[in-house]
Symmetry: C2
Subunit: 236 residues, 2 copies
Amino acid sequence: MPVRSERSLPTRTQRRHSDMSSLTCQISMSLDGFVAGPNQSIDNPIGEGGMRLHQWPFATDSWREQQGSAGGERTADSEVADEVMRGLGAFIMGRKMFGPGDGPWDETWRGWWGEDPPYHAPVFVLTHHQREPLQMQGGTTFTFVTDGIESALEQARAVAGDQDVAIAGGASAVQQYLAAGLLDELYLHIVPIVLGAGERLLEGVGDPTLEPVKVVASPAVTHVNYRVVSERAREQ
Amino acid sequence: MPVRSERSLPTRTQRRHSDMSSLTCQISMSLDGFVAGPNQSIDNPIGEGGMRLHQWPFATDSWREQQGSAGGERTADSEVADEVMRGLGAFIMGRKMFGPGDGPWDETWRGWWGEDPPYHAPVFVLTHHQREPLQMQGGTTFTFVTDGIESALEQARAVAGDQDVAIAGGASAVQQYLAAGLLDELYLHIVPIVLGAGERLLEGVGDPTLEPVKVVASPAVTHVNYRVVSERAREQ
């Protein structure tokens, strides 16, 4: 049975008027603010209990279809799972989202996802260590950016064209773009669990003005899309 | 213009089947998990920036009416402001919600609210220090309970009859009842601000199973009512 529970909200502010594509981020967060569990490791990259944040799509038909299989239910979560993958022309991710550890690259590491990563678009990896670009199957390329978040965003926008750029994670990358006033939309999937420890999303981000523009409710999770009303947007 | 944006969700679990009234709590929380700002004091009982959590009702007609004045807007928030005050037969609060400091009582302190507090019902105050009950105007009485949270709940249920019992705050009282598996419903008003510091709500509460049963979306705040699926409920 289809469940539809979407609510677009009247907005208090004007959308940023610009011909640049938006910088967005969609991420699952526990009710106590964590986007990963404690004790992250190469065997457990999202930390203890962290997979509980990411279970909501698994029951949906959308996720099954994205994985090339059939079945699953059509729920409010399905629509969100579809929506968050639409209209994205490029991704940005932090180094730890791409691989474990830090320091110079182990060139045999080609990401967590195997030879056909789920991005199917250019991905810009924030790092302090240079590395040649990696071309993967299915349209994903990883480009390693060593000259900062603004450079990564500029490069991502250049290839994204009319489409949006998404921050794929993790917390630190989101924090840096949010604190710099560069993030336009933050789509939080608020999962009703209490992790108690781990990596918090909204730390060190200053005092951004957020405005809920859309809420999708399901029995599993509450999806809230926030527009970030940055200084830049307020000036326009 | 009336804005209505309420969504009742199908539930995965049966409601606790019992002739006892429910223990509920409704509280405003920042997106980073705080229910009060830092540096709480007698002059600033909800801490620096804490009032930003409580501004959402002020624009509503419901709040104005509760204050005995006219005006305000009819919004989705109005319905929540009405709803959270309905059907409550007694309240429980922590000591710091009643007054500043700790140690033996200064008997001249009669609460933060003046002679006619907004509860209009029996209120049970959790404390380590005995004090005679205080009868205020408008139907509010404060009874000081020194023998623990279960005793306070029992006393509150005894006077509430068919009506529910609500935890009025603060964070510590909510945490104790949630950790003990005694809380039935947690109605969070998720306010789209980042406080950065202060008193967190969901700390030291273990790993409760929460289930969103209702979501009300407004441009100001996202209201999510969670049923707490306690061990006690799961057994029934």
